[in-house]
Symmetry: C2
């Protein structure tokens, strides 16, 4: 592709977003591929990348920079995690070349809760991109939430990720909606039922008991069964929002930065607002591109 | 069958236990059937009962008394719940005749948590049987836990169930073990890993975050993946035990009565002991038989 300088990929568990970028950071083309690492057989990543992703974008021969679960044992190759605290500079130093002209950004590892470590792959790149989008963000303290299958609550100080905690909120929602007594094909889009779930989350304790209210409110409370996914979503997000900020950093005295999928961020905004917490939402993919571009063109602030 | 007075059935979601009982309450025969209501098509319960269960036990024509999920819309017919507080006498008055000589005991309904109702079908019969096994139990206050797919914590005062709360602990374990990133075919029988899960449960808050430690301890902590089911079991039971008693009745100043499956009760004993709480375990099926016999022969204390 004329003017193309490199290929950037945010390659996650379920999806691969790829951009062809010019020498000034301008996007020349972009495309989503149904090639999340959960759909790849062992050893398949490199072959599919070279034979499908590159040709589809006219990107044969371009340098490539990748982030996300592609750097795990399920992806191209397992890249060692970087320890926290970590900055975009650390991520740059940690880039690993996995094939000619192809580099993968490492994930992060930190101290989680209950004495266990915690890990992320991909969210760190989006976070560093969000920080790089405005130089003012490189100073001060931010509490950021990246909602999703494995939601991340991330404490940022002076441009570095210092701590984070993962909550399996999205995965709990998916497996309960599909495989449990709460299963339903209805969409989770009813605001009133979502709010009822938020209420039922209360302080977030005894989640296994609160989950049963999604069943009992239908069989004994006369609520419509088709509201169950919305209620369940409110319950799970409400329980997360009730406890994760405090676990991460004690009392929350500033707005939460929401970074990720637009629709999901909107539900989190609603849950936070219900608790009197302010938030502002930003697009995760745009942030990933900012970081990958900075890493490749070495234009880090 | 000579000397047989009636047929008693504890007919639950996954299993049906049936006993042929004599006029003095003696068990003449018993048998388990893989006929849990989750395996029945609508309307199938009566037909299978008459054509399979009765003949297998030579129990054609005997009066029959049933309890459990067979009294739900998934079973023979939906029987109205009794309100709490409720006693064995109330259960007797609430028996519903669903076919010639066949009666089903109703379940209970009470105020759960977060403003939602709570329900049970089958556990109440086991509880009343446990109470009837020793007349001294008909007075005083007991905190009883019935572990299982939907674990019940039950407050009993002077022979009546006054309040209860359900926790979906067993179902969470099953769906996460089978369908999530924590999936594993390994057995949940490692005591050390179970204890590590109990520790990680701490006060039971932020369960969705604690669950992720079952993953991160393997991918970043070097713990063996085959311990995951044991750790997950400890985490879920630990979180339940950390919060349910207090939600049910405030501070716990007496031993917990565990009623149910022997193996599962042993894991709960272990979890309670770790928190300095005493417990004593009793067989749930034996208790069901005691109650069904008392209901049928009208020998209630």
């Amino acid at each position: 592709m004329p003017g193309a300088a490199f290929l950037a990929c945010d390659w996650g568990t379920t999806n691969l977003r790829a951009w062809v970028v010019g020498g000034d950071g301008e996007v020349l083309a972009s495309r989503d591929f149904e090639l999340g690492v959960s759909k790849l057989a062992p050893g398949e990543a490199e072959q599919r990348f070279q034979s499908e992703v590159r040709p589809a974008l006219n990107a044969e021969g371009l340098p490539a920079i990748l982030c996300g679960m592609i750097g795990s044992n399920l992806g191209w190759r397992a890249i060692d995690y970087l320890p926290c605290p970590a900055s975009l500079d650390d991520l740059h130093r940690g880039l690993v070349t996995v094939a000619d002209g192809v580099r993968i950004a490492p994930g992060l590892r930190g101290d989680g809760i209950a004495g266990a470590p915690d890990v992320m792959r991909g969210e760190e790149t989006q976070v560093f991109g969000w920080l790089a989008q405005d130089p003012a963000r490189l100073f001060g303290r931010y509490v950021l939430c990246h909602p999703g299958t494995h939601a991340k609550w991330i404490l940022i100080e002076d441009g570095r990720i210092v701590r984070f905690i993962t909550a399996m909120t999205g995965e709990l929602f998916a497996v309960l909606k599909k495989h449990s007594v709460l299963r339903s094909d209805a969409p989770a889009d009813d605001e009133a039922a979502f709010d009822n779930g938020l209420e039922a989350a209360e302080d977030g304790r005894a989640l296994a008991a609160r989950l049963f209210t999604a069943r009992s409110r239908v069989v004994a409370g006369g609520e419509p069964a088709e509201d169950t996914p919305s209620y369940l979503s409110g319950l799970l997000i409400g329980a997360e929002v009730a406890s994760l900020p405090e676990l991460l950093c004690g009392a929350l005295d500033q707005p939460v930065v929401l970074l990720g999928d637009e629709t999901l961020c909107r539900w989190y905004e609603r849950a936070l607002m219900r608790r009197g917490l302010q938030s502002a939402s930003y697009d995760g993919e745009a942030a990933a591109l900012t970081a990958l571009t900075a890493l490749q063109l070495e234009t880090r602030p």
